[in-house]
């Protein structure tokens, strides 16, 4: 696998002195879909804006397909498409003209067939001669995507593409992303919806307070999420685990009233039956049992609250 985007120690301090990015390192492979999660003000948009050239980095380096975004900005930017978080469009222009303009601005020769392809793919072809102000919010967002795709970028940044979009359109958006991925486009998107990251991303990153707290394969995250926690509550507190239970990976709660057992729901044998039998055999009286499944949301909230809360 070759990496298409390499971010090294990227820092951004705004003019007011606020440090929005505190040394981000990220390596993205060609054809990947990366979802960036993070609370409001985490620095997601700042990260994207800095990579795309809208803000200047205070320190660090970004390379797109080997091209530095400062010294080789033409080559680097020609490969990037950006769909901003906010809808910025000229209200009185037609759909087709704005999309054509984007292609030319990025230095590509006009290609009506290509523009038609893109507009059809985004179900905008019927609206090609409409003025932007006559479109619905969801259509406007798709116009932004069409503009970003007009110059056939290899890396596409989607900043909250499904914010304020209804369920159906969100599914459409996911389809579009999947289709682009099949076409070999690398996609970095930000979102506040964990199920969105689960649905379409290959890797999931979590940003909080300008730091990338985690970037992990979705599969291995799912594995972590697939873990379930069984809490066996016992009637009389104990000081230590009985020796007869040492074969299990058990944890005793601090008040001595619960045994915590973690297992994989997808494993063939969870070991629960044997554990419960052994607990009874050890002479412990069961008061209650409780199970809990950890989700990406838990991981996310934990991360953001603990590590992100240090500064």
């Amino acid at each position: 696998m070759t990496s298409i985007l390499t971010i090294t120690n990227l820092q951004k301090t705004y003019a007011g002195g606020f440090q929005a990015l505190k040394g981000i390192n990220l390596d993205i492979e060609q054809g990947e879909i990366i979802a960036l999660l993070g609370p409001n003000g985490a620095g997601k948009t700042t990260l994207i804006s800095t990579v795309c050239g809208i803000t200047t980095a205070s320190a660090g380096q970004v390379r797109v397909a080997g091209f530095d975004i400062v010294t080789d900005f033409r080559a680097a930017r020609a490969l990037i498409g950006l769909v901003p978080q906010e809808i910025h469009l000229e209200p009185f222009e037609t759909v087709q003209n704005t999309v054509r303009f984007s292609r030319g601005l990025f230095g590509k020769k006009s290609d009506p067939a290509k523009i038609q392809d893109i507009l059809q793919q985004l179900s905008l072809w019927d609206k090609r001669n409409s003025q932007i102000r006559e479109l619905s919010g969801g259509m406007k967002r798709r116009v932004l995507i069409a503009k970003a795709l007009a110059h056939e970028p290899r890396v596409l940044f989607l900043d909250e593409p499904t914010a304020g979009v209804d369920v159906e359109l969100r599914k459409d958006m996911w389809d579009i992303v999947a289709q682009l991925k099949r076409g070999g486009v690398t996609i970095v998107l930000t979102t506040h919806y964990i199920e969105e990251a689960e649905a379409i991303a290959d890797r999931v990153g979590v940003i909080a307070k300008g730091e990338l707290l985690l970037i992990e394969n979705k599969a291995s995250l799912m594995k972590r999420m697939g873990k379930k926690e069984l809490s066996v509550q016992i009637a009389d507190p104990i000081a230590a685990l009985p020796d007869s239970l040492s074969g299990y990976d058990l944890e005793l709660s601090s008040d001595g009233r619960a045994l915590i057992y973690r297992y994989d729901t997808r494993a063939k044998r969870t070991g629960i039956t044997a554990l419960l039998a052994d607990v009874a055999a050890a002479g412990l009286a069961l008061a209650d049992v409780e199970t809990r499944q950890s989700s990406l949301e838990d991981i996310f909230v934990d991360l953001v609250q603990s590590e992100g809360g240090t500064s």
Binding site: I54, T56, F73, L82, L89
Partner: protein, 253 residues
């Protein structure tokens, strides 16, 4: 140079102009006609010839300059302020273009619009008065340079402006007085000596004088000086734009 990008910006801006061509042209034509009626016919009938030219004809170069300067500034400042205001500037900043290409596209379009309006006013003038053009090539050159340099100034104003009031402020408070006091409607030689001396600090005097020379072969200041003045002004604007380019002032955070 990313010529395709420059062309795209230029065509996009010109399309906006042509979409509203009626509005774009009616107001300068109408106001010029009013000037001719008021100054040329009503007042001009009481004024003898100025430097051997009938008053109605004498004000033609000044009127053209007045419109061209105003139009160049407002077109260029609005042209770049608008994307900042509605946020579409994100696309310019993320495109593989440098600042000079952005300037070329926007200033080129603004200057073209101002030029078209200048020519139309000249044509309108022919309906009201008899105008002869002594040095047609010089006249065109002056017109083009004025369109360009004041579009550059407009571009700078558009980058600087943080709101619509500021966008109007410079043209209203500085440019309009300079143009009116720059001899659009009179010859500097008609002023008392003190005011003549003060007028020489007004850069627009040199422009209008040079432009009038191209028409009537008479000038308030030597033509060479006029050329130096407009070249200097253009150079100054370019220096400021170069500085904005290097620092990203008011564009990139």
């Amino acid at each position: 140079m990313n010529w395709t990008a420059i062309k795209s910006i230029y065509m996009f801006e010109m399309a906006r102009f042509f979409r509203t061509i009626a509005q774009s042209l009616i107001s300068p034509v109408l106001s010029t006609s009013l000037y001719f009626v008021v100054f040329g016919a009503a007042i001009g009938s009481r004024i003898d010839q100025v430097e051997g030219v009938s008053y109605g004809a004498f004000i033609v170069p000044g009127l053209i300059m007045l419109s061209v300067i105003t139009q160049a500034i407002s077109n260029a400042s609005f042209g770049i302020y608008f994307p900042k205001f509605i946020g579409t500037i994100y696309e310019l900043l993320s495109a593989p273009v440098n600042f000079l290409e952005i300037v070329a596209g926007y200033v080129g379009a603004a200057a073209t619009k101002a030029f078209i309006i200048g020519v139309i006013i000249l044509v309108t003038a022919f309906f009201f008065v008899e105008v002869q053009i002594a040095h047609p090539v010089a006249m065109l050159a002056f017109l083009v340079l004025t369109c360009l340099s004041f579009s550059l100034l407009g571009f700078i104003i558009g980058i600087w402006a943080g709101n619509f009031e500021q966008l109007q402020l410079v043209p209203l408070l500085i440019v309009t007085p300079l143009v009116f006091l720059g001899g659009s409607f009179y010859s500097i030689s008609m002023l008392p000596p003190v005011w003549q001396a003060i007028s020489l600090f007004n850069p627009v005097v040199y422009l209008i004088s040079g432009f009038r020379w191209a028409f009537f072969d008479t000038a308030d200041v030597p033509i060479g000086l006029s050329l130096v003045a407009i070249a200097g002004f253009t150079a100054l604007c370019l220096v400021v734009i170069g500085w904005i380019f290097r620092t990203g002032w008011r564009i990139r955070s």
